[in-house]
Symmetry: C2
Subunit: 499 residues, 2 copies
């Protein structure tokens, strides 16, 4: 018994409880809140978020953490890790004065509204002054936090701790030419799978039961979670025994809900896989968004868009839509989930071109933060990069630089997580295939326990005990690299498209 440590756990538990309330306020806002509830909800979220921040940055908590850190060698390893990680968060939070946090939150709120209007009107000019103000504040935030090298590093730290702009440039430099070239070869091949069978009506209740069946087979515990509908699918948790996913139903394409549910199911399996003893503490979290995204993409893409998956779930989906899929083979389902077509919208992009969307955003946002790009020049720069990487013209800002919400939330440094998620997923998956040589036989039989157990022991259970690169290195024996992802893409799409 260590009274200091107990006190720390109690305070962190209270912060976690308030954060859980914020998460529920947000979940409800996206799922069940009636339309007129919005203004009050915004206020409630702001009040509770500020309360959580105030509780967490309390000086007593800081003193307790520093005292415990001083005698960390006498603590058990889990406790020492808890103190280390919490002190890291505490010191970061304490560097931001409350007045600055408040100003930034106010600007974000205004910028979000301006962005929504600008996108509606497809007029970047409406958003421009707000983005400029945000960039200014975020540069100031980087100064407050401190950094080495690029100020972008200070912001990236919130999403991919320990990663730098230079490291990302190095990784992406290896990716872009080969991914671009692969996409070009596919376009030039002129081949596309026959997906005419998709042109039917797909009953929403059947989509619902099919997606639930799949996520349950993945191992998502529906007694400790649930699925609901949301315009933009997401996963959230209020405890490791209450992890919720959302999905989106498209009456013209049942594969859309499947992707969304498997993606969110992958996130949810991660959060249900934290350790009981880490409940209500700093450790029951992912170390980075990139690692979190690796779990969703692994299930959505590496499993859900594989031929072995459809060897089993071709039958299952047929049972859910009687008479609609009798003539459709697993190969056809596999091909329909892997159509490659360079397009304007990131969230609709195929696996082959997705990272290109992300990388162009990374290049623009680093240039904005490092002072190499004026906010006014964003549309032109955006359109040029889309032309260069994807070979297509951007017809308007709404389908160009205004399509994503992230920048309006002040989330600069977030986009790389998506690409890193793809890379980590492929690299982990090569290790998985080595550890479980008959993995594909299991998948083709709808048996996901071996895969899930591997992820539980190599990724999930660690929570924040390891950084992203440590997880990858310990699980695969190598530092994060784009090679496994390129191998995966070139093999899969090379075969599919004969290029």
């Amino acid at each position: 018994m260590d009274a200091r440590l107990d006190g720390l756990r109690e305070k962190l538990g209270q912060v976690a409880d308030v954060q859980a309330a914020v998460a529920l306020l947000e979940w409800d806002q996206e799922t069940y809140m009636p339309p007129k509830g919005g203004p009050a909800r915004g206020q409630q979220i702001a009040t509770l978020s500020a309360l959580a921040h105030r509780l967490f940055t309390d000086a007593d908590l800081g003193n307790a953490l520093r005292e415990l850190e001083d005698r960390a060698d006498q603590l058990e390893s889990d406790d020492a890790k808890l103190v280390e990680e919490t002190l890291y968060d505490y010191e970061r939070a304490a560097k931001l004065p409350e007045a600055f946090v408040h100003e930034l939150a106010g600007e974000q709120s205004k910028a979000f509204q301006a962005w929504a209007q600008a996108r509606e009107e497809s007029a970047f000019a409406t958003f421009e002054p707000h983005l400029a103000k945000l960039i200014e504040l975020l540069k100031h935030k980087a100064d407050l936090l401190g950094y080495e090298g690029s100020p972008y590093n200070a912001l990236l730290e919130d999403f991919e701790r320990g990663m730098t702009a230079d490291q990302l440039r190095g990784i992406f430099a290896g990716l872009v030419p080969r991914q671009s070239a692969l996409a070009r070869r596919i376009v030039e091949s002129g081949r596309q799978p026959d997906t005419a069978w998709l042109e039917q009506d797909w009953d929403e209740e059947s989509q619902w039961s099919f997606t639930l069946r799949v996520v349950e087979d993945m191992g998502y515990d529906l007694e400790a979670g649930r699925q609901d509908k949301a315009a933009h699918p997401f996963t959230t948790n209020f405890d490791l025994a209450d992890v919720r996913i959302t999905t989106r139903l498209d009456p013209r394409n049942p594969l859309s809900a499947l992707s969304a549910s498997m993606h969110e199911g992958g996130h949810a399996l991660y959060e249900q896989g934290f350790q009981e003893k880490d409940r209500r503490t700093t450790l029951a979290n992912a170390p980075s968004l990139g690692i979190h995204e690796s779990q969703s993409r692994l299930w959505e893409n590496l499993i859900g868009r594989s031929l072995p998956f459809w060897k089993r779930y071709g039958e299952v989906i047929r049972d859910h839509f009687p008479g609609q899929l009798d003539a459709v083979t697993p190969q056809q389902l596999f091909e329909a989930g892997n159509v490659v077509e360079p397009s304007l919208i990131r969230v609709d992009a195929d696996e082959c071109t997705y990272n290109l969307h992300v990388i162009l955003r990374f290049e623009l946002e680093t240039a904005l933060i490092e002072g190499d790009l004026d906010v006014a020049d964003v549309p032109e720069a955006w359109n040029a990069k889309v032309k260069e990487y994807l070979g297509i013209e951007v017809p308007d800002d709404a389908r160009g630089c205004l399509q994503d919400v992230h920048w309006s939330h002040g989330a600069i440094g977030y986009f790389p997580s998506y690409a890193l998620g793809n890379l980590y997923a492929s690299q982990l998956f090569e290790a998985i295939l080595e550890a479980i040589p008959d993995l594909w036989d299991h998948v083709a039989a709808g048996e996901f326990a071996p895969l899930r157990d591997w992820l539980r022991s190599h990724v999930h259970q660690h929570g924040r005990r390891k950084l992203a690169r440590e997880i990858v290195r310990d699980a695969t024996g190598a530092d994060p690299s784009p090679e496994p992802y390129l191998r995966y893409l070139e093999t899969k799409f090379g075969t599919l498209y004969g290029v």
Copy 2:
């Protein structure tokens, strides 16, 4: 501009935001939370409730309130009222030391679990020591709060401010003999309406759309609210633009969901009817539970169980259940909603016997708090009163003194609200019929605007500006009395049963 007042409003707004989060945590617990989410949820609710209490009992807030109270004559009347009501709450809350609040909450939690187990086993002995401990703590709470006359008055104040045990005894003394006698005459008449037509399967989706249709017709704004399913229907709000109801579907009886939805719809109309300017303040609340309950019972019983209602909604319900009600008349629907049969369970009781259930609980709980009844003697006293008032034998504790959750929550003083709600509703309704002589024609045409407007202006909009008895007196010209309710019962059931 008054900086003190603005500061007060800001602090009250924050407290209201935290309370809204607690309400959402509770709403979700009863509607969508997955089963394993319970333990974490309990902790979250406890943390947020304690935070709200701490924010509200902050000494700075008290000082600001007292300073404003000192110069109340310079404030606008709404502001003066806000200060007065908030100071009342503040001083009451400040009388309870945090350690006591914490001890009581802990005992309530244990008592609730013991009660649930006791009811499961139908064994009062399991609950007895916990109830004894709660009674002891509640007597201490009464001492801390202070009172004149009975210590019960101090507890009753939380639910029906300004009412006393003696006043209630006086009111109930007039009710019991006449209500009991009426029930007895009905039983002895041997008459019962023919409800054989109810024995069909009632589709749940049709029940859902029918209940939504009715509450929408009542004027419940579904853009600022929603209906969900819950085992024990309730109403909650997170803002006057987000007021939610719940209902319960019985596949064997569509009138059960109708009653629940109209009851909760009545509560919801009240909360949607608070004033915009009272948002996030003390004033956007009902002055008592009895007044709140008058609104639910008025819609559920006086409207929903009336013949004119069925003259219109007989057609509507027929359309929702095609082919199932072709031969059923408005008179038959009216009779089916008004079957009188003395029974053991309060929540299933008919209008004619309902108050008798409530009054026997009131008599027992006052005796417990005033020291005239030992906890160990509760089952015997309960059973004797059921025999005396309802003429039936209690076969076991589960269907006797263990049936209600209230005492296990430490909610002593709550039950009278239910009876007062019935009384207030009838008294208000007599005034409404005088003000709107053709009210029944409107109801028979499905037009509820005149009734709703009357309630808005005489009850809803006042929030906490008036006490319950002031609302009744101002709206009806008389103090609260049992006479209107007895007239209503004796007329309606006398006619229906020919007694």
